[in-house]
């Protein structure tokens, strides 16, 4: 069929929107990351003066600097921030996988009307505000909160444990918030699995644990990959959870960026941080995209 005008419009409108509000902003971030801080409005130099034409452009290019990036590498604080984010992202993803797999597996094996209801129950918290869910944990984890109250009442501890402002609290918050993102892709791939495969494996002499390891896990691989990436990538750049539940002595990269931007008003460094974060996450993001495309369009 020939491409009609309406089809061109269907492609062009969202394309242009995304280009304008997703792609162009990144180029701007890239540009500002190469600029220098200035006591001005906007607080960076140089500003591209398109009215000056070619001369303006050349003046602009020569004024670019790598100062922001140099700072990133010279100050161990930033490097530490990246490493910590990656470590927390990997740790949280591993815990999510360990918790999410049994849950998704049990869900997929539940007989039908109950399975639908349970699925809704797992997804439902996702619809409530994520800020609220973190706040709920603040209620529980604070010094005179319920967890300490319960522990003291049971006589496990004598004095309240400072849960809040620790990495443990951040981990709890992350696992709690991202659990549905792990469970859903896992469930989707487990649910598609034919129970006859498990029966066939048993029939061919594989014990239950071997069947699980040799049949269930390999078939759930797309779900494992999708779920892990869906959790890992945003967790590395997470801001709210470490900010509310974590301590102030060691920051994750999202917090560092936030402080550079809002606190220190150092836009070039904040931009450089963002570019560097994106560079770190580029490989997992591309992996995730390819995985999604295969899942959605491969079946055709």
């Amino acid at each position: 069929m020939k491409r009609s005008w309406s089809m061109i419009l269907v492609v062009a409108v969202p394309y242009l929107w995304l280009a304008a509000f997703f792609l162009v902003p990144f180029l701007i971030v890239l540009k500002i990351s190469l600029s220098q801080t200035a006591l001005a409005q906007p607080p960076y130099l140089p500003v591209l003066d398109l009215a000056a034409g070619w001369r303006g452009l050349r003046g602009f290019v020569t004024a670019l600097s790598l100062e922001g990036y140099a700072l990133l590498f010279s100050d161990p604080l930033y490097l530490f921030s990246y490493l910590k984010s990656l470590a927390i992202g990997a740790g949280a993803t591993a815990i999510l996988l360990l918790l999410g797999f049994p849950l998704a597996y049990a869900l997929a094996r539940t007989p039908q009307p109950a399975q639908g209801v349970l699925l809704v129950l797992v997804v439902l918290p996702f619809w409530t505000s994520f800020l609220i869910r973190i706040y709920a944990w603040m209620n529980i984890l604070q010094r005179d909160g319920l967890l300490n109250g319960a522990l003291q009442a049971l006589g496990v501890v004598d004095a309240p444990i400072p849960w809040l402002a620790t990495d443990a609290a951040v981990m709890i918050g992350l696992v709690y918030s991202y659990l549905p993102f792990m469970v859903l892709p896992l469930y989707a791939s487990l649910q598609k699995m034919d129970t006859a495969l498990l029966e066939a494996a048993a029939d061919l002499g594989a014990p239950a644990w071997k069947t699980f390891w040799l049949v269930t896990v390999p078939l759930a691989r797309p779900g494992i990959v999708a779920g892990s990436l869906l959790c890992f990538i945003p967790i590395v750049g997470e801001f709210v959870i470490p900010d509310l539940l974590g301590g102030s002595q060691s920051l994750m990269i999202g917090q560092t960026l936030w402080i550079e931007f809002f606190g220190n008003k150092d836009w070039p460094v904040a931009s450089a941080l963002a570019v560097a974060l994106l560079a770190v996450l580029l490989v997992p993001i591309v992996l995730y995209q390819r995985q999604q495309m295969r899942a959605l369009e491969g079946g055709r």
């Binding site: 505000s129 529980i140 699995m193 945003p234 709210v240 999604q292 495309m293």
Partner: protein, 267 residues
Amino acid sequence: MQGRLTRVNLAALAIGLAFLYLPIAILVIYSFNDSRLVGVWGGWSLRWYRDLLGNQAMLDAAWASLRVAVLSASIATVLGTLAALALVRAGRFAGRTAFVAMIYAPLVMPEVITGLSLLLLFVAINIDRGFWTVVIAHATLTLCFVTVVVQARLLDFDRSLEEAATDLGCPPWRVFMTITLPLIAPAVVAAWMLAFTLSLDDLVIASFTSGPGATTLPIRIYSEVRLGVKPEINAVCTIMIAVVASVLIVASLLSKLTVASRTQRSA
């Protein structure tokens, strides 16, 4: 895959659901706590809800959030549905790979990056930050979620239905309105609701892109929560949970009712 519920599976489900729901349940219960101290139970009371009614800043923020969510979700639904159509129906076109990348990247992109880049765009083109910049930012982010939801439905769609309509004399645009749109409507509605809640939920991107006079509810709550747990916030959160829950219940009832009325009419 289906089967029996073994004891292990049952335990996994019970623990998982308890983990998901207990914190929310505690928050709801403590919103009715009479005591100002969060760890102490002082008996049932509605005083924090009463206080809330007098908190004009909080009410303004809620109103701003609602307007942002409705507007951005509507824009995102239109654009996202178009994008889904482009992906499924337009075949190969120049720059399709870039298009796909721009659809899927925001789904996992850390919010601080998206927020920062949009803010820098608004600064670069000299737009004052406020209500509309938040709407645009939220529409951009949520349109990708809309696209994914609608795209999944379109991929399931039986193309011969559209061919049949064409064959029966229906011009292309009317095929879309009378056949395609009604059949993908459930996905479009679900996508709108997803976009709406995502917008209502967002703190980071809104913080970057909003300006004076456009404080959304999450921004308001966040600024209070940073200073510690407060009973009023428990009450606000409980109301938000109730709103979202009732929207979900109404939506599912509506879809059940339409199904029921269809069966009834034809019986």
